[in-house]
């Protein structure tokens, strides 16, 4: 009886450990496959040139248009998300601090929003665009992606703000500051590492999302100069190049995938380093 118990425990611990380590293996596997496959086609032309004539038939050029377009969209959307999201998160943690029920209801609601798929935002952005008579453009892409990342921004920032001790808040009010001063000068500073994490997380989500910009941002070989011009994006560049029957173009899709993966990994590592650096100076 005892033996059976011990064997059962050994067996299940072994399986659990195996599953856990296999996740690390899968991550390494994905990254390795992408890097090995795309490394041959990766060169400075890919990063520094826009597509020339006949690029999609194996001609020369690169995906600079998509890299810049993606950065524009992600930066613009993150800015909008900061402008709307940060005050909302602070509001949730300052003005509503005495109403736990309301706070929890809003959090619950935002959590549910997080799960809405990006294709729905894309379809909605598209109908909005038609409604206002716009064409597929940088602006439409930015607005759609902003809608997508606002709930992420608010919830991530809020998660950190909600751990700030109430005493700090009360001390600030006791010294005579107004509520908004408490929010922007005390809580924002104390929650700054959370802010950095929230910004980088939403930026990463914005730069990697394909389904929402598929309808709204369009696709072009040029670098957009104005907000009403269409913009290419990196995920879509990968997707379109991969659909080509020509092997060289497909190889370039893999090289573009390396660029995108590199950007995402940099953001992810950067978020960790930055949030650690800023939380060192915090009160605890």
């Amino acid at each position: 009886m005892r033996r059976v118990k011990i064997i059962e425990e050994k067996f299940f611990i072994w399986i659990s450990a195996f599953m856990t380590y296999s996740l690390i293996a899968v991550l390494i596997f994905i990254i390795l496959v992408i890097f090995i496959k795309g490394f041959g086609a990766l060169n400075w032309d890919m990063v520094l040139k826009t597509p020339r004539g006949g690029y999609y038939y194996g001609g020369e050029g690169g995906v600079l248009n998509a890299i810049i377009g993606s950065l524009y969209i992600a930066v613009g959307a993150t800015l909008i998300a900061i402008i709307i999201g940060v005050p909302a998160a602070l509001y949730l943690n300052v003005q509503l601090i005495r109403y736990r029920r309301t706070q929890n209801t809003i959090r619950y609601f935002l959590d549910a929003l997080w799960g809405i798929p990006s294709i729905v935002y894309g379809a909605f952005g598209f109908s909005l665009m038609i409604f206002f008579g716009m064409n597929a453009s940088l602006l439409a892409g930015i607005i759609t992606v902003a809608l997508l990342i606002v709930p992420i921004m608010v919830r991530t920032f809020d998660e950190v703000l909600s751990t700030i001790p109430k005493g700090l808040h009360e001390a600030s009010l006791a010294l005579g500051s107004t509520r908004t001063e408490t929010a922007f000068k005390v809580l924002f500073k104390q929650g700054f590492p959370g802010f950095i994490t929230a910004v980088l997380l939403s930026f990463g989500r914005g730069i990697g999302d394909a389904a929402s910009v598929l309808f709204t941002a369009g696709y072009t070989d040029n670098i957009p100069v104005n907000l009403d011009e269409p913009a290419a994006t990196l995920p879509l560049a990968i997707f379109f190049q991969l659909g080509s029957p020509i092997p060289e173009v497909r190889d370039r899709a893999f090289a573009s995938a390396i660029i995108l993966t590199g950007i995402i990994l940099t953001i992810s590592i950067g978020a960790r380093i930055l949030s650690k650096r800023y939380s060192r100076t915090n009160l605890t």
Binding site: E9, L27, P87, Q95, G115, S127, T178, A211
Partner: protein, 295 residues
């Protein structure tokens, strides 16, 4: 000075309320907007017919979403079969057995897996999973397959959803009070028995919610699935054949939808359907999780 402060307080206060309200009404605007766009479709077809009919002929105005809905469900369920055990065991190991060092390593691993864009998963699926299915998995079961199949979609989707579900499960398991587990251990149960009876059994609602949210996430995933699933209507139920999920339908046809009457409305109806289904699942299971947390 005093006036300036009060003025700033008012302006900032207004801005905060305004942004909070904006965020809260966005989902309603999305829902209503999509519904209005889809409304022309209801004029000559009943809702039930739209959902349960399986004839799809946009040029004659026939829109039956059933094959696409079943396609989505099929891929999602298959991915769930792969996700569920991996997430459960990994979450148990991480919260109960592992060393602090492993947790320090696993946090970034899960974050990066969750942060990788779906296109990257799609590329990986095309490079690895599709050839695997066509060269090894299909011959093993005695059939042939191009590789672009429900099975490939399920596998890629499973890998994408693992970090999401796993995070949720870890959160759920962390709420188990240590005292309960210690009580079980002190009565002579082994560690695994305590986990089985206290951590798993005591957390049924939490575990089911985490799985439910993972399924909702899988149901709406677009690009990665679209790249490996083949995008052809399949009613045979064979996992080695292609399927056509609902999000892929929207993404594939946006180009031509303005040229055919009602096509636009039909695709917006598909988006509306996705929105409502996923929002409902999310609201339900989030509610369960919030409730268990409060206890």
């Amino acid at each position: 000075m005093q006036i300036r402060r009060i003025f700033l307080d008012k302006v900032n206060g207004f801005w905060m309320v305004f942004s909070m309200i904006t965020i809260l009404i966005i989902p309603f605007i999305i829902g209503v907007g999509l519904y209005l766009k889809a409304a022309p479709l209801f004029e000559n077809q009943s809702l039930l017919k739209l959902i349960f009919s399986s004839s799809w002929a946009p040029s004659t105005g026939e829109f039956g979403f059933w094959p696409f809905i079943t396609g989505s469900l099929y891929v999602t369920l298959l991915s769930f079969l792969f996700t569920a055990p991996v997430c459960l065991f990994a979450a148990i190991y991480l919260t109960q057995f592992s060393s602090p060092g492993l947790i320090r390593v696993m946090h970034p691993v899960i974050d990066v897996l969750a942060g990788l864009p779906s296109v990257i998963y799609g590329v990986w699926g095309i490079l690895v999973i599709v050839p695997f299915v066509s060269d090894y998995a299909a011959p093993f079961f005695g059939t042939s397959s191009s590789g672009y199949s429900v099975l490939s979609g399920g596998i890629v989707l499973a890998v994408m959803c693992i970090p999401y579900t796993l995070n949720m499960l870890i959160e759920v398991f962390n709420t188990v009070p240590n005292g309960l587990k210690e009580a079980s251990l002190s009565l002579g149960a082994t560690m695994w028995e305590s986990v089985k009876h206290v951590v798993i059994r005591g957390n049924y609602p939490g575990i089911i919610s985490a799985y439910g949210l993972g399924i909702a996430k899988a149901f709406g995933e677009t690009i990665a699935v679209m790249m490996v699933v083949g995008n052809m209507v399949n009613t045979s139920g064979n996992p080695f054949e292609a399927a056509y999920p609902l999000p892929a339908l929207i993404a594939n046809n946006y180009g031509e939808m303005l040229s055919i009457p009602m096509y636009n409305a039909a695709l917006m109806f598909a988006a509306f359907l996705l929105f409502i289904i996923i929002l409902m699942i999310n609201l339900f299971f989030r509610y369960l999780i919030h409730k268990t947390k409060r206890q």
